[in-house]
Symmetry: C2
Subunit: 172 residues, 2 copies
């Protein structure tokens, strides 16, 4: 089995993190891999907000928790959050943004960094505070939140869950 | 740079294929990697139809071409087609199915197999012929087509296109 297949099979969704930051050169590799996900007609509809700033990270966590209607950190203590959004004016935006999320998580796993896909990005960037964050970055246009890829050194071991029966149907 | 990162950066969308079939053990690895994509709440909402049967492959191509309103093969001569669908009753189905597509394409690339994401799967499985194919496999429930992952040995070399400016925004 080659290294890529091993990574794809062994990546887990991590829900407990150490506080250690991610070195810049590691984060740069994860981000670059994200930008190389395929997109419909190569329109590259997504963008990635790479949040290492603690107060912005905490603000996004708080907004996400608000959508969820809970108090605890929905980012599970992960020090880094990558918010993926995509341009709704491109018909494939939702697929495009999801493919970026996948590349980010797989790249992270290959580099020994834990990750998890956290939802409610759409709702967060529909909130006034989310919109204000985009404006403060000079981002205009109709971007919809696709997901938060939380990142950090994992502080738990996770086994693979069983794959469901009938995942694959062969037509031979 | 590790092997996984190399795969993620060097995977290209391939639009010219040799006719050679894909060995079963290679296809099995690609499919398994697909099933290990993360899904919302681990509900594993997607399914994969692994089509190596030529007449079903051609039927899907013809239906896809019909949606597109053209005559030529929208699957670019690729001998194998993996149709990913996902259960619409799961709120994250569209993201889930896209993540499966991403894993399939990346796994293929790591094994020297070319791939391309072909859209219009939703429309194909909304057509009577598409529904009939699902019924013939005993698939019930509200499955929506997410994408066709076409596969084969590539018969062209492709360079990476330039990534757009402002793909990544750092908030440090």
């Amino acid at each position: 089995m080659n290294e890529t297949i091993k990574t794809l099979l062994s990546r887990r969704s991590i829900r407990k993190y150490k506080k250690d930051p991610i070195p810049d050169e590691i984060l740069a590799q994860i981000l670059e891999a994200g930008t190389y996900a395929p997109t419909g007609m190569n329109k590259q509809s997504p963008i990635i907000l790479a949040v290492t700033n603690t107060s912005v990270r905490n603000q996004l966590a708080q907004l996400n928790a608000q959508v969820l209607g809970q108090d605890k950190d929905p980012f599970y203590g992960a020090p880094v959050v990558l918010a993926v959004l995509a341009d709704k004016s491109v018909s494939t935006y939702l697929y495009d943004g999801s493919l970026v999320m996948g590349n980010l998580m797989n790249a992270a796993a290959s580099l020994g960094i834990g990750s998890c896909y956290i939802f409610r990005a759409r709702e967060v960037f529909e909130m006034e505070e989310g919109k204000e964050l985009l404006r403060s970055l000079g981002i205009t246009g109709s971007y919809e939140g696709i997901g938060f890829c939380i990142l950090g050194y994992q502080d738990e071991e996770r086994e693979a869950s069983k794959r469901k029966e009938n995942y694959i149907y062969f037509i031979q």
